[in-house]
Symmetry: C2
Subunit: 204 residues, 2 copies
């Protein structure tokens, strides 16, 4: 179909990218076929350097260039509040909101017996150590609102029930700009149960 | 924003891909961060081999693994009919239709003075040579229906006006499944001018 095995091989490799089908993979391959040697070299270099240079922060487990990441070592950011997240992309998403000035802790997933992921495969011990250390006052559970996420929050809350640490979760409810009519029953029902004081709305 | 320069560099490289924005580029980068060394090595190999192994067919200029591509060297395919196209991706698109059994000629673009592309930058001389060679009876102009494409067809037709070669273009009209109401005036008007005998429709 592609006349060339090299083209076919690269199309197959690009097809493994998340959300990329054969057509897009072919477009990416043509992009490389048409770009200069310099451009391709720059891409290969970036690819190799990613795996070579990346370290995982000793404190929060975020991928970065140092032993301790720039968030954990930033003296301006509060060490009292730790936002517990599943993965690095949630960190980037929350940072983009400019609404959080504490530190993070990346679990590396959530408890999911169906997928063979038990608590031992997650960065839980280091979280307990951080929760026990002086100064930590609040853990914000910012896990995805799934059964596995909720199970993980329950598990962590149980582990920490004797510690003097406040545990909160990010609020759930209808999205900004969402319509009640099209919101699922569970979300809508809970948003009524967990109604918030009006003052919260106007403070935003 | 990404905590790591290596991550940022790769995100920037992926952003150069056609149709890829920052969010998708970040997803691709995480895909590489999470995949195994073996997988990354396989990707790098496919990337390097593309540039190293690819040759351009001496006859039709298609990228492939040999001096002459598998279409041009296929004895079953008719050498009498040559389909003139802008680029390799048009070849793949036409091959996918399973409706053409002749050979191709890739121009490598179309005449576009605005972009500084004159006839000298295209594979035109080799097309003239092929048109002059014994056995060539028809050139099908399958260029994109743009002003530049039509200019190029006009230019080629003029060059070949003294040759005993029939020149045709792929038919233009409303797409299969298209609606007259939403078809642009130019296309609809021309489709009435260039109406086809009913027999053509039922033969399909």
């Amino acid at each position: 179909m592609y006349l060339s095995k090299s083209i076919e091989d690269l199309v197959n490799e690009f097809s493994k990218f998340p959300g990329v089908g054969k057509k897009t993979a072919f477009r990416f391959t043509l992009h490389f076929l048409n770009s200069s040697k310099d451009e391709n070299a720059r891409f290969s270099k970036a690819l190799i350097e990613l795996k070579e240079n990346i370290k995982f922060c000793k404190v929060c487990h975020a991928p970065n260039d140092d032993e301790v990441c720039s968030i954990c070592s930033n003296p301006v950011r509060s060490k009292n509040t730790i936002c517990v997240i599943e993965s690095y992309k949630d960190l980037v998403a929350i940072e983009n909101t400019n609404q959080f000035f504490g530190q993070y802790h990346i679990l590396g997933g959530v408890i999911s017996p169906m997928d063979g992921i038990g608590p031992d495969k997650l960065n839980i011990q280091s979280l307990i150590d951080r929760a026990n250390s002086k100064g930590t006052m609040e853990l914000i559970m910012a896990l995805n609102p799934t059964i596995e996420g909720d199970t993980t929050i329950y598990y962590l809350t149980n582990l920490l029930k004797d510690q003097d640490v406040k545990i909160t979760t990010i609020s759930r409810g209808i999205s900004f700009g969402g319509e009640l009519e099209y919101t699922d029953d569970l979300t809508l029902g809970r948003s009524i149960q967990a109604r918030q004081p009006y003052e919260l709305l106007i403070n935003k």
